[in-house]
Amino acid sequence: MSDRPSRSRYLTPPVIIILLILMYIGPYAFVYARTATWTFPRIDQRDFDAFDRVKSSVSQVVNLTNIQSVGGAQEATYLLKVGVLDRKFLDWIGFPLVLEVNNFNFTASGISQGKIILECSHFESAFPKPTGSEPWYIYQPLVDKYDDYALDISCKGDASAINTAAQTTPITLNWSINATLVGDRNDKVRTWTNSQSTEIRDVRSL
């Protein structure tokens, strides 16, 4: 005897419809559950690891680039390299990303023998990063390029406070960096402050 009638007795249309609905929504229920328990925690973990791993960088050399008269006083212009290092990180699918750096704020003062030699203040709304709309062969070099990224920040000071005859002048640089780091799902404001020995190098003749 065929087993069709007995199978049909149990697998009636309402049962089939329920089975079809379960079959239909099953994978999506899985995706939402995995998103809550795996995707989002994984993204968060990788974001926070990236926030902790990123480092600031302030050059130990300040370049004196120009001296000019401003209102009867001699104003010196310096360039200082400041940046953020190790921005590259792997996202939740293992794809390389560059950590977004926004609202980058740098302030510094250079002091020698109790006198302020130079002052710096710079705001950068966003560090460059790949858009994610590039083909891989363009994207991948950009990730490496922006992994460590530094700006040349202009600083000003009274030129009479330094010995312009000397090629180098040691100073103490007190600096502070404030920036918003943005990962895939999270952001964090990080602040770095330091006081470091730095030297002014006269590069006007170079």
Partner: protein
Amino acid sequence: MTDYVSEKGRGGLWRILSDKDGGGWLGYRGLFAIIYFTPQIALFAYWITYRAVTLSAALFYLTLIPFIIALSLTALLPGKSGITPKTLAIITIMAIIPYSLYDWARVPMNLIFGIPFWDHWFDWGNSILGTTGTGATPTGTIFTYEQLTAGLISHIMRGWGLAVGYYILVRKVTLVSAFAFGWAMTIFYWIVFPVWVLTDALPPWIWFFTAWESHMVFAAGLWVAPKIFNYYRRAY
């Protein structure tokens, strides 16, 4: 009405392409198959322009407008073409099975190998909604349930639309044609994603395997769905 199991294919290649009843690939079959492929065509436009064409725009111009036209065309379908409003209704229900099986086939690949097969759903959702999420930052995040849901719906439209397109194209569902369609989808997937989709630029072997096995399960679903349908149509 076309019987998707018992009707014998006949008439050779020319009959497939064209028949006087309007049922060939150059007639209503081809036209309606293309219309049901439009969700995939919209995604293709999104990918090959490196996301310059947003998925919302692509779905509007390449999917919504053709579907509105198709709605009117349905009323004009010649009964002898084999594609009628009733066949379309049956096909759209049958098409749920293959793409559901396709997604089921990817579930173990996530659990065993960690393949995050829904990663693009966030991108698609973001491109459809045009939002930048609800995060605290000015740029926001694409990783929200809203964007996942929008991306999921577009994914469903594509899988379902491709299955509907297959049933419209074939006069008789066979294992060979179902797997030929599955292989065509696999090859399309293997080419498009590594070439145009940034995050899939250099996929590992398991990515290729997952794409293949899930499309083979899709093909099996294409083949089995009409059998299930006919079994219950006879039983009740």
